[in-house]
Symmetry: C2
Subunit: 496 residues, 2 copies
């Protein structure tokens, strides 16, 4: 995985008169004052007890917590922010530390960490409203279980769901497997409770499905990576829990055929599709090498594979629907298997999951997360593969993704035993080649993961001046002294 080291090594900026990041006497006094107003165990300041708040789960991104506040209520978050605002102490909010762009890791120069890990309550859940109100520190999987217990579905689904926290999902506008059917996290948020940089609480925690009273302020905080406020609670939209799931894996002659199949599937399956995941033959081989117990999934190898999932409630004949759709596509589907049970469906997913887990053979690899218009996916993959293979024949490019969302994870695995310096050079060069194709197709260099610190350089290289100006105005309108998550998305000292 490529690290954000180049960002963390950037030279310290002039912080202006109000902000400083070293633990000056003033700040030591401010932290002492904070301790005085917070309950006994809410503030950590010991090096050892703070260590786990200073690095993310990958261990790639490391920073320095000046102190770690662990509030239990929105009032405590408000108190913390008010004190830090007045003292000019920089703050970073933190969830499950599973983000991939280093946004929640404190700055190397030091920041006060506000961990939401103690605000985990499901405040309210209503199957009639198809809505739940949950605190930001709740683990996604726990929130999903609470919804499931009332026969509802909170659709956000991805690998880190057992450790990420829902406040982080909102702050990064998380994507995942079910975007095709249910949208990004943004589409699932009905309301928010947010503590502003100056400590005021914005209460937008409503469960209304339609509300056109002026500006939709919650949109500001979704996907803002903690730079405009600290999300403390979320009202999520829920859906009926599907009672049927059908999973198929099919083999195709080309990525073009996969995209044609996608176009037909959307029409035939009436928005009941929940996943449409492209895997190339290389990816299947990664799985087969890592799991010799798994057979080649179809009778012979194919250049492209698609894992298709659809789900529905009780009254739809979903099996019949899938059979009729696949049967009608036999001019392009070369071979395929429609799972006969939930267990067999899970086995089909293993081909994708194993590929994702074992692609790097335990070592580092270049990981990208790009999107292009759906109609350009086949072209993007072909051009990016050709470019990387031509310049780096020693490396293995691997492309897969949520193609119904135009989202491709185009990764590059270095040759075994490559030395670290050569690997950095390879990653840098391959990323440039890939991003260049993305740029030419009007795509995004960050479809799901956000910007944080890791992608900031590539982001700022590409952003047009009007967008940069608008983003800077937003930041300064809400956080004029840049006390909150400074240096994420926008540079430390924004150009005004």
């Amino acid at each position: 995985m490529i690290t954000g080291r180049q960002c963390f090594l950037s030279s310290p900026q002039d912080q202006g008169p109000q902000l400083t990041t070293s633990l000056s006497q003033t700040h030591a006094d401010a932290i002492a004052a904070l301790r005085a107003v917070l309950p006994g165990d809410a503030l950590l300041t010991g090096e050892e007890e703070m260590a786990r708040y200073g690095r993310d789960v990958t261990g790639d991104h490391v920073g320095r917590p000046l102190a770690v506040a662990r509030p239990r209520t929105v009032e405590e978050v408000s108190t913390i922010m008010r004190h830090c605002w007045q003292a000019g102490l920089r703050v970073v909010p933190q969830g499950g530390l599973t983000g991939l762009v280093g946004a929640a890791v404190p700055a190397p120069e030091g920041e006060v960490v506000v961990s939401l890990e103690r605000m985990t309550a499901v405040r309210r859940i209503s199957p009639i409203d198809f809505a739940m109100v949950v605190e930001a520190g709740c683990i996604l999987e726990e929130a999903k279980k609470a919804a499931d217990a009332v026969d509802c579905l909170l659709p956000i689904t991805f690998g880190a769901q057992g450790s990420c926290r829902v406040g982080g999902n909102v702050s990064t506008n998380a994507g995942g497997f079910n975007v095709l059917r249910y949208g990004m996290t943004r589409d699932l948020v009905l309301g928010l409770e947010v503590v502003l940089p100056d400590g005021r609480v914005w209460n937008g925690l409503k469960v209304l499905r339609k509300d056109n009273r002026g500006y939709d302020l919650k949109q500001l905080f979704i996907g803002a990576e903690g730079t405009l406020g600290i999300v403390t609670a979320i009202a999520f939209k829920l859906f009926p829990k599907p009672t049927q799931v059908e999973t198929a894996l099919v083999g195709l002659a080309s990525v073009e055929d996969a995209m044609e199949l996608y176009a037909r599937a959307r029409r035939a399956c009436s928005d009941l599709l929940t996943a449409f995941e492209l895997i190339l033959r290389d990816g299947i081989e990664v799985t087969l090498r890592a799991r010799p117990d798994l057979p080649d999934p179809l009778s012979e190898p194919y250049p492209a594979y698609v894992l298709i999932e659809a789900s529905a409630g009780g009254a739809v004949d979903l099996r019949g629907l899938m059979e009729s759709f696949l049967g009608g596509a036999d001019d392009i589907v070369r071979d395929g298997v429609l799972a006969s049970s939930r267990a067999q469906g899970e086995r089909l997913w293993l081909y994708r999951e194993t590929m994702v887990e074992s692609q790097g053979r335990g070592g580092r690899y270049l990981r990208t997360d790009v999107s292009v218009p759906i109609s350009d996916i086949a072209g993007f993959i072909a051009r990016a593969l050709a470019a990387v293979r031509a310049k780096h024949p020693e490396a293995m490019p691997l492309a897969y993704g949520h193609v119904g969302d135009g989202n491709v994870h185009f990764n590059v695995i270095p040759p075994r035993g490559q030395d670290p310096a050569a690997m950095e050079t390879l990653f840098h060069s391959a990323e440039e080649l890939i991003f260049d194709v993305v740029d030419r197709l009007g795509g995004s260099i960050s479809a799901e993961h956000g910007i944080g610190r890791v992608k900031q350089h590539a982001f700022l290289e590409r952003i047009d001046p009007v967008s940069l100006d608008l983003a800077t105005r937003l930041k300064l309108a809400l956080d004029p002294t840049r006390i909150l998550s400074n240096g994420r998305i926008l540079p430390e000292d924004p150009v005004v």
Copy 2:
């Protein structure tokens, strides 16, 4: 229909040194300068030719255009705004003038109208991307036809679609019939092109389905009622065109039973529901009086009716689905009819459409557009009916709406021949009674229609100080001299 007269009659505010609204010599010079840089027929200044830009389609809201600019390109919009910005001339963008809150009508003191009516092109449409790029002045129905021609669906659907323009749909975050299935207009926008108050063009016109590169700036302009920028083009998300539609009208014992039916329908129909419209017996009687040719729709009268519609693509057995759902709900569905043809389905819709058109008997009536949590709909209707009937036994309250969205249109029809002053008193009093119930249920006084000028008073009475401060900061961050659509949503002189 209640008018916004109270807003238009508000006393003129101090506009500060930069802004003035009378046609001073400076402004006459500025308009002359504008004429010099625009093509021959792009600027109207004659009283007569400007008249139709000074009032909305209802005729309830009237203002004064200082001049009417009719640009054909985004560059011309940019030129107009740059000139007006420099001259301190206030501007209001205008679409089809079908909005219900007076936002697009120029101020009585005068504003330059920028009509988008000549920017009507469908710039691009791609059934593979399920996306289209269309200019802001395109009539919604024309955009829908263009989508239909490539077997796609642009789902925004409501009464004014034959005359409203898509820029206005975006600027008001239009709702309508299909929100249940496809979401509000906000959910359908992939990208925007916007001219900022200072004339710069923000190009966010992408068709990517996932893009997490920093703040999602397009969200600022959706539902902002033209106060933060002029939307000139939109990239819309499209859906597969349904090939099957099933429509049913059922009779029930109570609103509670209707809400129970809704909960079951969502689960049984797997998100294929496109409409779930509640009508009370009073509403059916309004239709039967207006259209004596229509029979009472079911074998006997029922307290509550629901019009249910579902749609799907080719491979779903939609008829079987609806039959099985309705058959399984025979413990609460007293009677019902499932349309046997598209023509019969349209006849069922006539009961609702006729009610909406004829409820006011050609005269004025109080019209509200509120939302509450779905679980509170039955309680809201019961309490609001009781309150209005107790205080105004002479008037007829009429409640109907998109109950799956928590959205009720709770209207009050005055007795025949009531004099205008008594009618104003009735409307004011009834609105207070209705809004009071909405407030107590944590609802919204504007689910779909927006704030504009008409609902500003009620909006500002209820908004909390933190929300008001955030909204004001947003406005000032983008439009510091308040040149664009000033006095809509926020007061003329925002509190800073």
